[in-house]
């Protein structure tokens, strides 16, 4: 279970630039570290983040091993019409986590 926190304004005026924030619990293990017995700790990172707004991709990011654990993103988009915001993280093994939020545009 990965905990996810989203910050999306519930309503916005058409044409407004809105701030979106997304935080997910993930170890983002770089693959460069070793455990207490000297064994290599295998890499385990999220590689891709995407945000869809009413079906259209408005923000995407590729993650690399240097990104800290529990990655936190803040980005902006323009409110055009009421619709669903989908936040999706995918790790290098293909597992993905998704959370959605409704935005009402007046």
């Amino acid at each position: 279970m990965a905990s996810i926190r989203l910050s999306v304004p519930p309503t916005a005026k058409r044409g407004d630039v809105i701030e979106l924030k997304a935080l997910i619990q993930h170890p983002m293990e770089s693959g460069y570290r070793r455990g207490s017995r000297g064994e290599a700790i295998p890499r385990n990172i999220i590689t891709r983040f995407e945000c869809l707004y009413d079906g259209e991709r408005v923000f995407a990011a590729d993650f690399q091993p240097g990104i800290a654990a529990d990655p936190f993103l803040t980005f902006h988009t323009r409110a055009t019409q009421s619709g669903m915001l989908v936040f999706r993280w995918t790790d290098e093994h293909g597992e993905s986590w998704q959370e959605t939020a409704m935005l009402m545009v007046t």
Binding site: R5, A69, F72
Partner: protein, 260 residues
């Protein structure tokens, strides 16, 4: 002439003793002002702690809230007994369990509750679920001053914890007291030595890249002086937590704090 020299010597002695006096005479309350580890953070890290959205510790608070309200088949949820929450409860821990006379920290109390009232197995130390429940309960006391009771049945535990605090250990032969009382505020390896209060725990440590308990932090200190750390949940560590919180009595709980 001799009188004059004696007088000058006396003044030198007095001025040399004055700053240390408070620390040396009040071994268990060595500070004129209690200083949270928060004060040693950069403004950016302080802002991260203060922002209840982006503070990553709240990932565990959310998870703890869900666990607190969740029933497990025939067993009651935490919330079915503690319907109005546990505001302020964390401030008095570690505390004596009246049924067994044992000293329990918050983690121990949660596990005892699970076994006694919910018929559930105890959660593993440092597991996400135990940290989540602990930080969820501690967070309800955010801003509440610590006020642990060291009298009665707790007195022996307090004495044992105090003993651990003042005992030199490890290859470096250092006691907690030497760094966190005598040299608090001084620099060590590019960092400032804190007064050693646990008011922010469970805390999100940037070094760990995750949330961890006070005992995990204490184990890091023991490892730092090259002593063999005790196991998580060890009674002596719980006693030490009691001593630490007693010397921090009055300091506000910040959990989940951000610490370096």
């Amino acid at each position: 002439m001799t009188n004059k020299i004696a007088w000058v010597l006396a003044m030198v002695l007095v001025s040399a003793c004055t700053p240390a006096d408070h620390r040396e005479n009040n071994l268990d309350a060595p500070f004129e002002r209690l200083q949270s580890g928060y004060d040693l953070l950069t403004p950016e890290t302080q802002a991260l702690q203060d922002d209840t959205f982006s503070n990553p510790g709240y990932l565990w608070v959310d998870r703890g809230a869900a666990l607190f309200g969740a029933g497990h088949g025939y067993t009651p949820s935490c919330a079915s007994c503690h319907a109005s929450g546990l505001i302020g409860a964390a401030a008095s821990y570690p505390a004596i369990d009246t049924a067994t006379g044992q000293l329990l920290n918050l983690e121990g109390r949660i596990n005892t509750c699970r076994e006694r009232h919910q018929n559930l197995p105890a959660l593993e130390h440092e597991s996400d679920d135990l940290l989540a429940l602990t930080v969820y309960v501690a967070n309800q006391s955010r801003g509440v001053p610590l006020s642990v009771d060291t009298g009665g049945a707790a007195a022996a535990h307090y004495a044992n914890g105090r003993d651990y605090f003042f005992t030199r250990r490890g290859q470096f032969n250092l006691s907690c007291h030497q760094c966190h009382d005598q040299n608090a505020g001084m620099r060590l390896r590019g960092d400032t030595i804190s007064q050693g209060h646990g008011n922010g725990f469970p805390a999100y440590r940037l070094e760990w890249q995750t949330l961890g308990s006070l005992q995990r932090r204490i184990r890091d200190c023991d490892t730092g002086v090259r002593a063999e750390p005790l196991s998580l949940g060890n009674q002596t560590y719980v006693d030490l937590e009691l001593y630490l919180n007693a010397r921090a009595n009055g300091l506000e709980i910040e959990s989940p704090a951000i610490r370096r």
